[in-house]
Amino acid sequence: MDLRPPSLRVLMEELQKLPGVGPRSAVRMVQYLLKAREEALRLSQALAQAHRQVGFCPTCFLLAEGTCAVCDDPGRDKTVICVVEEPVNAWAIEATGEFKGLYHVLLGTLDPLRGIGPEELTVGKLVERVAAGNVEEVILATNLTVEGEATAHFLVQLLRPKGVKTSRIAFGLPAGGEISYADTVTLARALVARRGME
């Protein structure tokens, strides 16, 4: 007989949908959340608030409440845009402290197997930003996976006629090529040693 009341069963099912959470950690989480009622309440409020208020920055598609802190900061170098696949990749690059320009999040890569082409990404907005002038260099910091590389090639072809310099973060990143898995020092080095890409 399943001894869990229905609402706990639902909660555990939801928790198990989270990455890295299996049945056993779900049990531990539920046990903890029921004891620490205050914290459970704060968690549920934080979650609801995040969902209500967080969206994509309309310019660069970082996660933000309205316009993002980078786009809002007058001190950032507006002549350089660093293109990444997902917001978390931008977080990793920001953590290096090496990059003072703006970001652009594609929200994915070219991925024909999943039916994802340029129209499903934020490529149009990137072209718009570059065409608006001011931008001198676009750093392509998509992952070093097959799809990330192909997307970088695609963007070079797209942006070169617009008279902007394109560069690619240097190699030496970890196996699998996900930039978020790289340690800060490696990533900083990859940024500094970026190379022009034809």
Binding site: L110, P112, L113, G117, P118, V146, E147, E149, A150, Q157
Partner: protein, 370 residues
């Protein structure tokens, strides 16, 4: 590395087996159905994660069981290492790999204990499609340079993506994946060519050891796009060809250019080997190719890989066996061959240890019994 002890649980017909392997040549003897091939397959799966016998990996699990384990203790000088493989039956076979108790990825596991597997269907190297010869080259390339695995996997991924783009008629994505395919394709071709040079040299020697008569087989890398695909600047050339054939590819829905369509051509006096060789000669040449790749691997590593040869006496006559078995024993410190006819095989290898396979167990046997 030397395999000192090999244990398997619930692999094919073996529910529980622990085997202290002798050094040198081992002859596995037993009637048909005794489990000889199963045991060699267990060794292959342990070292290579794949079998030489075609079929689904799910059939490796002992019927009625849901999991198997393979475990081996390796030794080289004073260092010893335990490798372990756990496999669980689901829709596919889910595997977890351990090196010295630490879980590792396949790319880290695979170079540690390669097993060279020879078997009667090696004749596919001569009579079969190009995929058999590509696999020979790619495997060997990987053992010489482990980074080749990454190139190969990325190339396959790029190919799948490109074929998907072709099927959907997405021209912009095609351009992007063309670059990646040409880039990885050229690296793969390079790796194959340097492997082929070594294989070619070694083949001559192995043919001599096995007593090859007649004209020398010539190995040549073959790319349907033309020889420029494997010259310097191959990347640019592949890229151009991808562009040139785009129309045809869109019509057919798959990629027509690249190393996934290349071949290792084998000719004798200017004619394809498959047209001029008898079954016996083809088997001899195929075996020499396998031996050559063992010799090349051995030259690169401190210790040659474990060699297995299933049904060693099938299609090879006594005269060839009497050259082959001593040669195998010189090439590698550990060789395991199987036969249902030990009386045919044993005269060619007076030093061998005989092990009888019967009912899921092994027993060392007196040679005089045969």
């Amino acid at each position: 590395m030397i395999l000192v002890t090999f244990c398997c649980r619930n692999f094919r017909s073996f529910s529980e087996l622990s085997w202290d392997l002798p050094l040198g040549l081992v002859v596995l003897a037993g009637p048909n159905g005794a489990g000889k091939t199963n045991l060699l397959e267990a060794l292959a799966v342990f070292g290579n994660l794949t079998s030489f016998r075609p079929g689904s990996p799910t059939s490796w699990v002992l019927h009625g069981q849901a999991a198997f384990t393979l475990r081996g203790q390796l030794q080289q000088g004073d260092t010893s290492l335990v490798l372990e493989q756990h496999a669980r039956l689901g829709r596919t076979l889910q595997r977890t790999l351990f090196r010295g108790g630490r879980q590792v990825r396949a790319a880290e596991y695979l170079p540690l204990f390669p097993v060279a597997t020879l078997a009667s269907h090696d004749r596919d190297l001569i009579f079969g499609g190009p995929e058999h010869r590509r696999r020979l080259l790619d495997r060997l390339a990987f053992h010489l340079k482990p980074q080749v695995l990454d190139i190969l996997l990325r190339y396959r991924r790029a190919l799948r993506q490109r074929n998907a783009a072709l099927a959907r008629g997405q021209a912009t994505s095609l351009d992007a994946f063309d670059r990646e395919m040409a880039h990885l394709g050229a690296q793969l071709v390079d790796a194959r060519l340097s492997t082929l040079r070594l294989l070619d040299q070694a083949l001559e020697e192995e043919l001599a050891h096995l007593g090859w008569l007649g004209a020398k087989p010539i190995l040549r890398y073959h790319a349907p796009e033309g020889p420029a695909a494997h010259a310097a600047g191959g990347e640019q050339f592949l890229l151009l060809q991808l562009r040139r054939l785009r129309g045809q590819e869109l019509a057919r829905g798959h990629t027509l250019v690249g190393p996934h369509r290349h071949d290792l051509g084998i000719t004798i006096s200017g004619r394809p080997a498959r047209e001029v060789l008898s079954a016996g000669q083809a088997k001899l040449l195929a075996t020499s190719l396998r031996l050559a790749s063992v010799a090349v691997t051995a030259g690169m590593r401190k210790v040659a890989p474990l060699v297995t040869f299933d049904d060693v006496d099938a299609e090879l006559d006594g005269a060839v066996l009497s050259r082959l078995l001593p040669r195998l024993a010189t090439l590698s410190p550990q060789v395991v061959v199987s036969t249902a006819h030990p009386e045919v095989v044993l005269p060619s290898c007076p030093e061998a240890t005989v092990v009888c396979v019967q009912g899921g167990t092994l027993a060392e046997s007196e040679r005089s019994r045969w």
